[in-house]
Every structure is written in structure tokens, then in C-alpha cells.
């Protein structure tokens, strides 16, 4: 006896397709899947927009931080130079006495 392999495949496939088939639920499932897909796309667009905005704000904040760090570095270096000058102890003593006189 010979077996028609194509017939077997077709039968198996038809069982698989028929399994749990329900045209009404298929219609509901498909309609909702399309809505979910559309909403998912909108969410991706919305999230991308918000990510871009957040990224721009992050870049701006980083830039401001960099500028502030540069200014702080310059000021710190200036204070360092002043504190190493020979006049600094005299100026410090004057400042202390001035504070005492005010009190």
C-alpha cells in the first residue's frame, strides 16, 4: 500500500487550521489586533517624541553642567593662586581683625 504524502500533509494542515477555529472570534481578534497595532504604533511615536525631548533636555543640562564646571575650575584656580601669594596671610589677618571690630 502506498501513502500519498501530500494527502497526509493536507489533512494534518486542515486539522491544524480548523483547531479552535471560530469565525466570530477570529473577526473580533483580528479587529482588536489591528487596533492594538495602531495604538502600539502611536505609542512608539509618542515615546520617541518624548525620548527626543528628554534627550534634548539632557544634552542641554549636560552642557550647562560643563560650563558651570569650567567656571568653577577657573575660580578654584584663581583662589589657589591667591592663597599661595605672600600677601595672603596679611590679608587674612586684616580680614579677621575687621570681623572682630565689627562684632
Amino acid at each position: 500500500m502506498t501513502v500519498d504524502s501530500h494527502a497526509v500533509d493536507a489533512a494534518t494542515e486542515s486539522v491544524d487550521i480548523a483547531l479552535g477555529a471560530d469565525s466570530e472570534l477570529d473577526r473580533i481578534n483580528l479587529a482588536q489586533a489591528l487596533k492594538d497595532f495602531e495604538i502600539a504604533n502611536r505609542r512608539v511615536l509618542d515615546l520617541t517624541h518624548r525620548l527626543a525631548t528628554a534627550n534634548r533636555e539632557l544634552m542641554q543640562a549636560r552642557s550647562e553642567l560643563g560650563q558651570l564646571q569650567a567656571r568653577y575650575g577657573a575660580i578654584a584656580r584663581y583662589v589657589e593662586v591667591l592663597s599661595r601669594s605672600s600677601l595672603f596671610p596679611i590679608l587674612k589677618a586684616i580680614a579677621r581683625r575687621t570681623r572682630l571690630v565689627k562684632q
Partner: protein
């Protein structure tokens, strides 16, 4: 009973679960339709277990249950949505979304519909269970003691006789077994697919329903056995030993930043403990009245598993008594320390005298307690003291 005859779609979501799903579906077909029309719909989320979907389809055909296998795996939220949409499109008045690792009681639909229809502001009613998040009714070993259709029917019937249509307002519903009137779906909408394969989607839905003025409730008069995490752990949805999905919890926290803050006072109010105590008392009293009971005068109680109610009373002071039945532990209030007072308190609580007294541990009051009950005493000899 609800004035109108409701049309209820009982939608059971399935993903694998060869070991437990058949019992859940058979249980669903036994739910009483005396008061309302019920259709059962099994939503197979493209289970990958070899040949399982074929078996499930055959089982559903044999039981006369509608079966649908989605062409692709959807995840729990979207599979649940299929059930909600099928209810809307099919002209049903209510939809009951349920997991597949459950046993339903016969009074499931009649009791839940009665609760939902008692107030039009009710947007959802979750059944009580041994495993329903923070609302879980305590039980020592639910799988051993409660995973049985007959006992589920009995517990639910007993609780319904006590609580009737009473519900309590809850912070969120649990979709292991939740009844939603279709009018609520019309306003609140569907589960959000953002929760991917599932977990927390019903919390999100509940919070949306609360924002719209609906009540989110739990019915202590309906008991559904829930094995819990049936197929989700095996499918890798939750990690072993975990009960939720952290990324989904993060979404809830993002959307509802006050949810956890608002939950704390509700949990601390003691309301759920009070409902549990009431439920346990109802179960204990009904079991003792219907099945009779025995007394164990013992520090710990018998190690032997028993299907009969047993009151364990301490032999030393006679001050503590607890009724044990199928894993439920019900404290029995005892007035006074004297043996006759203790005995009378137990008899009053149980609605009659015990059928026997077992002296398992010796103590100052043990014989006096046995005498006070006025029944024959069995005195199995203990090999050694039960207490450490």
C-alpha cells in the same frame, strides 16, 4: 436573587496546563445556571505543549463548551480582552474572567451576579479564594485540603449563607475569577496591552474604573479554589518564587504614583483580617454543626490529617482553643480558665457537644476537661511530649 435573568459569559484563559485545566473546565460546566444563563468560553492562547490544544478542543467539544485557539500567542491582557469583547459583541450582561488553575463553586455566577447587581456603581466583583493576593483566606495547605470540587462547593455555599450579597471595597480586583458587568467595560475599556504577557493589567483596569467612579469589590460569599501561578511559572512569565512581574509593577507606579501610598492605610485598617475572621468562624461553626467534631486535649494537636472538624484545647490552662478543619484554623473564644467554662464555651461555639475527646497530652486540666465535656474519653498514649 437578582431581579432579572442575566446572561453571563464565563471566559477561561488557558496557556498549557494539561495537569489542571480539565478540572477547571469540568468545574465550569457544573456551575449552576438555575438563576442566570451561562456560556463557557475557553480561550487557548496558542498553547505550545505538543498535542495539548487538540486534547483541549476535544474535551471542550465533549463538554459542550465553546473553544477558541488564537492563531498567535497574545499574552494574558489581550487574551482577556478577547473574552471582554466576546461578551460585548455577544450581548451578554456580565463577563466572568477566570484563570484555568481554579475550581469553581456551583454558586459562582448566581452569587457574583447578585453582588454586582446590588449596586450599579459596582464595576467588578472578585471572588474570595485561598490564593487571591492580599485577600487570600488563610489555609494551612490549600492544595491538599481544598483542591476538591465537593469541598469548594461546600465552602462557597457556607460563606454565601453567611455573607449573602455583602461585598467589601478593595483597592484592585484580581482576574483569577472576576465578574465585570458589561456596562462597566463600555466605560472603562479593555485591559492595556502595555502589560505584555501579563500581571498587573487588572490592577490598572481597576484603578481606571475607580477613577470613573466605579466600585471595585471583593465578595466574601463566593469561594473559588485557586492553585495559583499554574502555567505562568512554567512559561517563564514569573520567576520561581516570585508572584509578580517587576517591570509591570513599575508601569503601575509610573501611572499611579499614589497607589502604593493609598494602599498602606487600607491594608493597615484591619478590614480584611476582620472579614477573614468572620469567614473562618462561619466555616468552623458550619463544619462542626454539620459534621460533628472531636476534641483533642493537646498542646499541638493530632499529627493525623483528619477531614473532620477538631477542636484543640490546651491541657495546661484550658485558655486557648482552636477549631481545625481542612486546613482552616478558627480561634474559639473561651470564657474563663475553669474546665467547665472552657467546655461550655466550645460547646456554645460549635452548637453542640463533641462526639469524642482525645487526651493527647497530660496537664493539670486534661482530665477535668474530658469530664466537663461529658463524653467518652479516648486516651491514645503519646510516645513522648508533643511540645519541644
Amino acid at each position: 436573587m437578582s431581579a432579572r435573568r442575566a446572561r453571563v459569559l464565563l471566559a477561561i484563559t488557558v496557556y498549557n496546563g494539561r495537569d489542571f485545566v480539565p478540572a477547571a473546565i469540568e468545574s465550569a460546566t457544573r456551575v449552576s445556571s438555575a438563576d442566570h444563563d451561562i456560556d463557557v468560553l475557553v480561550l487557548d492562547d496558542h498553547s505550545p505543549e505538543p498535542r495539548w490544544s487538540e486534547e483541549l478542543a476535544a474535551l471542550c467539544a465533549r463538554l459542550g463548551v465553546r473553544y477558541y485557539r488564537t492563531p498567535r500567542n497574545l499574552g494574558i491582557p489581550r487574551n482577556v480582552n478577547l473574552g471582554l469583547l466576546a461578551a460585548i459583541e455577544g450581548g451578554y450582561t456580565h463577563v466572568l474572567i477566570a484563570n484555568s488553575d481554579v475550581l469553581f463553586p456551583a454558586n459562582l455566577v448566581s452569587a457574583l451576579v447578585d453582588c454586582a447587581d446590588a449596586d450599579e456603581r459596582i464595576g467588578s466583583v472578585t471572588a474570595l479564594s485561598n490564593n487571591v493576593s492580599v485577600y487570600s483566606l488563610p489555609n494551612e495547605d490549600p492544595d491538599t485540603h481544598l483542591g476538591n470540587q465537593e469541598i469548594v462547593d461546600w465552602v462557597s455555599h457556607t460563606l454565601n449563607a453567611h455573607f449573602g450579597t455583602r461585598v467589601f471595597d478593595a483597592p484592585a480586583g484580581i482576574s483569577f475569577s472576576i465578574l465585570i458587568p458589561v456596562r462597566a467595560i463600555d466605560e472603562v475599556g479593555l485591559m492595556d496591552p502595555v502589560y505584555g504577557r501579563g500581571y498587573c493589567e487588572e490592577t490598572d483596569w481597576s484603578l481606571r474604573s475607580l477613577e470613573l467612579g466605579f466600585r471595585c469589590t471583593v465578595a466574601p460569599g463566593v469561594f473559588v479554589y485557586h492553585a495559583g501561578r499554574g502555567s505562568n511559572e512554567a512559561a517563564g512569565l514569573v520567576k520561581p518564587g516570585e508572584t509578580s512581574v517587576s517591570i509591570n509593577e513599575a508601569i503601575v507606579d509610573l501611572r499611579y504614583p499614589n497607589f502604593r501610598r493609598d494602599l498602606a492605610p487600607w491594608l493597615a485598617s484591619g478590614m480584611i483580617e476582620s472579614v477573614h475572621a468572620e469567614a473562618l468562624r462561619a466555616i468552623g461553626r458550619a463544619a462542626a454543626a454539620e459534621l460533628g467534631y472531636q476534641i483533642d486535649v493537646a498542646h499541638i494537636g493530632s499529627m493525623l490529617e483528619s477531614d473532620s472538624p477538631t477542636v484543640v484545647v490546651a491541657p495546661a490552662t484550658g485558655g486557648d482553643a482552636v477549631l481545625r478543619y481542612r486546613g482552616f484554623e478558627v480561634p474559639v473564644p473561651v470564657a474563663g480558665d475553669a474546665a467547665p467554662d472552657v467546655a461550655q464555651s466550645i460547646i456554645d461555639f460549635c452548637g453542640g457537644a463533641p462526639s469524642g475527646v482525645n487526651l493527647l497530652d497530660r496537664g493539670p486540666h486534661s482530665q477535668r476537661l474530658a469530664d466537663a465535656f461529658g463524653v467518652a474519653t479516648h486516651a491514645p498514649r503519646a510516645s513522648y511530649p508533643a511540645r519541644v
